[in-house]
């Protein structure tokens, strides 16, 4: 087996074919030999037939002559002599033919004897003729007697001559039959052995090849999945080489993976270190900046000469610019580490746009840029963090002013884009951007004009605007015509139209100090399950939700009651306190999650806990809780969450109603 494995596939293939080829050669050889024997047997038979025929002619000559002479002797009629004369003339030629026909020594000696006997016969017949002519009766009788004896002798000789070849033909036939039988046996054995050997070879070869190909394929797949390879029998053929290559590749891969992992760890550590550094440094920078800005503001208030007042104003401007940069650095670091907190709310676009344009007008005017905005009569609102959206717009506007041509225009406009999105566009009349430049504007710290140095900036404004938009489930779109200007469009989720009939409830107003959200037409109540043992906390949320139409609140004071209530009320949101009297909060969470999955609901579960340690928050987030609210509950935040969930539910419900109108009422049990 080992010997076989070490042969190359070509050798194995040849060996596998050798047995049937050998069998074929033997069978062919045997059949050729039989054919040759048959041919020679046929020639022998032909020759024997010729000898027999010629000898018969000679015998006939002799017999004719004998008969003719005996007739003449009896009748004394010379007419009877004619056949004798003809035979005497013919016989010598016939005897020559007979001699020529003899092919073996035996035949030749027999033929020679026959020739002598024929000679004797004709001599005796001459003697009878002369005795008849001489009327010698005794001699005639004697000669007739001799002729009879000679004739019998000749007949016997010719008969024996004719017998020999036919015996030989028979012997030849027997020999051919034997040969044929032998050849047949050889053929059968050869074909059987050849086929078996061939099959065995093919089985050995194909079996071995396919098993080893499978093993190699398995190992290749394992290599792809980074699993350890299966051991392969060592061999020196093509498969051995393949296995060896796989092992080498595996080693290489393991090395590379280790290197990669180390590099990634380093990168993570480095990023963390960078962000920590940025964050710490930024905070440290604020302390001196506080003094700078503070004194500058005091100076501005003081009674100063115009020059000095201008100096103070410049210090203030520069200081505020520096502060802005620091803030952007912190934001960038927070986005990178996932620490950015957003407070998403309903934002009136019209108000925001007017506000931002008012703020930016002095800067635009100072650069000779005309800043205009289109007033939209429709009241539109987006779901966004108002401060962050404002930051994004200021960022886009200040870029549009900075990168505009002198005397150019910046236009701020907004519109609803379908039922779900709101677009706010900032268009400038600057140099515009090429497609490649558009790719680059969102890469942090990669300023398009960094080498020119004509315009101040760090190159993080646009990337930050994009990151903030994405954090608010929005995006930024850029269109540009090189030479005639660019348009940056922020697309954000819409918050729905303001419903003038929605009167804010007093309770909510007092609790939140703001209006209740626009009520959504909803026949299916939004169910909230609050699992909490502290009665005061429960009471707060009861008050909070009581002024909110379309929301049903169920409360449970223990974990078990909460789990029981879950399947009964099928809530759209679960608020879970982690410190419950009967069960650990983690367990309640896991059981609720399992219950939710078994009911094929994807109920959001939000933890509400006084435990604000990062460890606790991290643990629960890892387990998959949808959010972690620390006590005291930020009711505004909770309101945003509930509003977002309700909108989502309303959308899926209406989508389901469109596709499947006679939908079973899931909450009909209650």
């Amino acid at each position: 087996m080992r010997w076989w494995r070490n042969r190359s596939i070509r050798v194995e293939g040849l060996l596998m074919l050798a047995a049937p080829i050998l069998a074929l050669v033997i069978v062919t050889g045997a059949s050729l030999a039989v054919q040759a024997q048959e041919r020679s047997g046929r020639q022998v038979a032909i020759a024997a037939r010729a000898l027999a025929d010629t000898s018969q002619v000679v015998l006939d000559d002799a017999a004719n002559a004998e008969t003719s002479m005996r007739g003449y002797a009896a009748s004394r009629d010379p007419q009877f002599l004619a056949p004798f004369t003809a035979a005497s003339r013919q016989v010598s030629a016939d005897v020559r033919s007979l001699i020529a026909a003899a092919s073996t020594d035996l035949e030749r000696s027999a033929v020679a004897e026959i020739a002598v006997a024929v000679q004797g016969e004709f001599t005796n017949l001459e003697r009878i003729h002369s005795s008849v002519l001489a009327e010698a009766g005794a001699a005639e009788l004697d000669a007739l007697e001799t002729g009879k004896v000679t004739m019998d002798q000749l007949r016997a000789q010719i008969s024996s001559l004719q017998m020999a070849p036919s015996r030989m033909v028979l012997e030849k036939r027997a020999e051919i039959t034997r040969l044929e039988n032998a050849a047949q046996a050889i053929e059968i054995i050869g074909v059987t052995l050849g086929a078996m050997a061939g099959l065995a070879g093919v089985a050995l070869f194909a079996g071995g090849v396919s098993r080893r190909v499978r093993l190699a394929a398995d190992n290749a797949e394992r290599l792809g999945q980074g699993e350890p390879l299966l051991p392969t029998p060592s061999s020196k053929d093509e498969f051995g080489n393949l296995s060896h290559s796989l092992i080498v590749a595996r080693r290489l891969l393991a090395t590379r993976l280790a290197e990669l992992s180390a590099a990634r760890d380093q990168a993570v550590v480095a990023t963390q270190a960078k962000n920590n550094f940025l964050s710490r440094t930024s905070h440290e920078l604020r302390t001196p900046l506080n003094a700078i800005l503070g004194f500058a503001q005091l100076l501005e208030m003081a009674e100063l000469a115009d020059d000095d007042r201008d100096s103070a104003a410049r210090i203030l401007d520069a200081g505020r610019h520096l502060l802005n940069l620091i803030n952007q650095l912190i934001d960038t670091a927070q986005i990178e580490t996932g620490q950015l907190r957003l407070s998403v709310d309903r934002v009136e676009i019209q108000t925001l746009v007017t506000d931002v344009v008012t703020l930016m007008s002095p800067l635009a005017a100072a650069s000779g840029i005309h800043l205009e905005h289109s007033a939209n009569t429709r009241t539109l609102a987006a779901l966004a963090d108002p401060q962050r959206l404002r930051q994004i717009l200021i960022n886009l506007l200040s870029n549009a002013v900075k990168y505009n041509r002198h005397g150019g225009t910046v236009r701020l406009s907004y519109r609803a884009c379908g039922p779900d999105d709101i677009e706010i566009s900032v268009a400038d009349t600057g140099l515009g951007l090429s497609a490649a430049e558009i790719e680059r504007v969102f890469v942090p710290f990669d300023r398009l004009d960094a080498d020119q140095g004509s315009i101040e900036g760090t190159g993080i404004g646009l990337p930050l605007a994009l990151s903030l938009s994405e954090a608010m489930h929005g995006r930024i779109k850029v269109t540009s015509t090189p030479g005639s200007g660019s348009t940056f469009t922020v697309i954000l989720p819409a918050a729905g139209r303001v419903d003038p009939d929605a009167r804010p409830s007093l309770t909510i107003e007092r609790l939140l100090g703001r209006q209740s959200p626009g009520s959504v037409a909803n026949t299916d109540p939004f169910v909230v399950l609050y699992i909490e043992d502290n009665a005061a906390n429960t009471r707060v949320l009861e008050l909070f939700f009581s002024g909110w139409p379309g929301i049903t609140l169920y409360t449970a004071a223990t974990g078990r009651a909460g789990i029981d209530l879950f399947s009964g009320c099928r809530p759209d949101l679960v608020l879970l306190d982690l410190h419950l009297p009967d069960l650990p909060g983690d367990e309640v969470y896991m059981r609720l999650r399992a219950e939710s999955e078994s009911l094929t609901m994807q109920t959001p579960i939000i933890v509400v806990s006084a435990d604000a340690t990062p460890a606790a928050i991290g643990r629960m987030l890892t387990r998959g809780v949808n959010d972690y609210l620390t006590k005291p509950i930020d009711l505004r935040h909770l309101q945003n969450i509930v509003e977002a969930l309700r909108r989502k539910k309303e959308r899926t419900d209406s989508a389901a109603a469109l596709h499947d109108p006679p939908r079973a009422p899931a909450k009909a049990v209650l």
């Binding site: 905070h283 302390t287 004194f295 005091l298 620490q339 907190r341 604000a612």
Partner: protein, 127 residues
Amino acid sequence: MLYVEDNADNIHLVRRILRLRPHVELLVATEGDQALATAGESLPSLILLDLRLPGLGGQEVLQRLKSANSTSSIPVVVVSGDSGQTQHCTMLGLGAEQFLTKPFELDEFLAVIDRFCQPREVTFEDR
């Protein structure tokens, strides 16, 4: 008013700003222990607390002020270079009255002073 801050420039700045509100008497503490002691002795109308302090941290100071009977009712306004919302919420949760991000705007600062340090008797206008 008690200003708890270790940076001399900022102390100087606040001192200058308070010239705009002459009715406010400024006490300064440059570290946590000193702040607690001064607060306990003088019972100021307002404590302006910087979070980055040598020794006892600002958060610790806030907690102790709020847990001591004598000082628990004194309004505390936290000043910090950290503009993060998390810290903001934590401080308010610990009983801080308001949160000022450094660097603060003059108007904003004066609004805080005016909210908590009402003049006991109006003697003169500052401007």
